[in-house]
Amino acid sequence: MSLLIPHDIPQAITKHISKPMTEEAVLNLNHVSIKYSDKTAVNDVSFVIAKHKVTSIIGPSGCGKSTLLRSLNRMNDFIPGVSIDGEITFNNQDLYSKGVDAVEVRRRIGMVFQKPNPFPKSIYKNIAWGPSINGFDGSMEELVERSLKQAALWNEVKDRLHESALSLSGGQQQRLCIARALAMEPDILLMDEPCSALDPISTAHIEDLIFELKSRYTIVIVTHNMHQAARISDYTAFMEMGELIEFDVTNEIFTRPKQKRTEEYVTGRFG
């Protein structure tokens, strides 16, 4: 499991970045194209995901953000007719090469979905299930507590751990889903518009949370909310019609975009 050091990052990927990336890259997308049957949804996209940083993917609706995100932990495998070209390497291992077990990939790269989707079971079981099927043999109580604390939900649910997760509010459910993903201690956490179904207060909760988690996890987040991307992410990828238009340090994207289209999109939403 060799680490990817900065000079390993292909020129094609980093040449547009305003300053050289100094972080270690965990995920490396190399000319990635994704098709639904014949329809191309993502076209020749290359960039890197830096370790312990937040990378956001922005762009207009239908531009392929979710498709790209799902390809990072092979959740696309469940959609019939999807095919992928190019290379996505995770710690120098191609995620789509023959010997790779997709189940193992998803264990290491967790995902939080747009709509909160807790299991219709107790809060406790929601967290404990993933670790238990993957052979966790430590103290489950501690793990549940730790995960809930990490997701800033512990204080609200500590007295009702055995109540149904469906009795929680939408924002609490989403934090539960984050806690559930964290309990697996994934290397990377993918989030697809995790706040789009939430009110501003719950959104703020989750943004704070992402900020906290950054020191220990690598996070990739798809968002429609420019402010959110600007606030929480270190790197930003802007996509349009399946293509990556610009990838750069977040600050650059929002203050000095190099591409006209990025500027239009970013300022259009701000103005």
Binding site: F78, V103, F113, P118, S164, R180, A181
Partner: protein, 296 residues
């Protein structure tokens, strides 16, 4: 009608009236047909109970059949039916649910799968007598199980398997995709996801299908006659290899006798059969209610 003035559909008022009238007529027709069915059922039930109730007593439930109506009872048939239905449940539920789970969750969506699906739907429509013939050829003769409970239970299981599979598949299909995705994203295999989330979430739907199927099995007569279940049984089956009779066969037997008293005995038997059915449905509703409360 003023609100429609100047609208793009100036004649809509007239059309609307017509449509309202049509809707009313149609709903009247529907309720008429519904009530006709209910009334017919009511008449049948009335007839059955007016004939049968006076024969319903402990003696009726605890006696073996007899040549003399006042001595005859339904004990062996009732016990036979309980044996039969327990064995059918034991055989058909695991196979049916596992098949449904396999087809929906584990196998791919290939051509083979579609072929199997089509065949199962067709099998659900095959007349029960045909299953009786299969049972006779395969179980009674082929496997030399004779006219035993096992042969009967296997035949009945074949008969209701398609129903269980189809109902279970529908229940499994109605489990939201997002639950599966949540499980997969945690590094679960398809089997783990199916076992721990899809199956529990579709539990009540599956149960409904299973009860419907078992109810059908309880009432079926033709396949049992075909495989040669006995009509006069003065003993209780003690194991799966024993020969047996069942409620519908006993009823059929009584109905086909000339004496009036036996016809009334048959009505009594029908009441017992209905009571067993009602009991099963009640149990199903209770279990459903309990599991649904747990999940909501």
């Amino acid at each position: 009608m003023n609100i429609l003035n100047g609208s793009a559909y100036p004649n809509n008022g007239v059309h609307l009236n017509k449509r309202h009238r049509k809707a009313k007529l149609f709903s009247m027709l529907c309720s008429l047909v519904t009530w006709l069915g209910v009334a017919l059922l009511g008449v049948l039930l009335y007839q059955v109970s007016s004939d049968g109730f006076k024969w319903l007593d402990l003696q009726f439930l605890t006696s073996f059949p007899s040549r003399f109506p006042y001595k005859a009872g339904i004990k062996s048939a009732l016990v036979g039916t309980l044996w039969l239905i327990s064995m059918v449940a034991f055989i058909a539920i695991p196979i049916g649910v596992a098949t449904a789970l396999y087809l929906e969750e584990l196998s791919g969506q290939g051509r083979m799968n579609r072929l199997i699906e089509l065949n199962i739907s067709n099998l659900a429509g095959v007349p029960s007598i045909v299953y009786g013939i299969i049972g006779l050829a395969v179980f009674v003769r082929g496997l030399a199980l004779e006219r035993s409970l096992v042969a009967g239970a296997l035949t009945m299981s074949l008969l209701i398997l398609p129903v269980i599979i189809i109902a279970s598949r529908e229940a499994i299909k109605s489990v939201p995709m997002s639950i599966r995705h949540a499980a997969f994203a945690l590094g679960a295999t398809r089997l783990q996801t199916a076992r721990d989330h899809v199956l529990p979430a579709s539990y009540s739907g599956i149960l409904t299908g299973v009860i419907l199927a078992l109810s059908r099995a309880i009432g079926e007569t033709a396949p049992l006659i075909m495989i040669g279940a006995l009509t006069y049984v003065a003993f209780l089956p003690e194991g799966p290899m024993d020969s047996f009779t069942a409620l519908p066969i006993q009823i059929y037997n009584w109905v086909s006798r000339p004496q009036q008293e036996f016809h009334q005995l048959a009505a009594g038997g029908i009441i017992v059969l209905l009571a067993v059915l009602l009991m099963m449905n009640t149990i199903a509703i209770v279990i459903r209610y309990k599991t649904e409360r747990k999940y909501k």
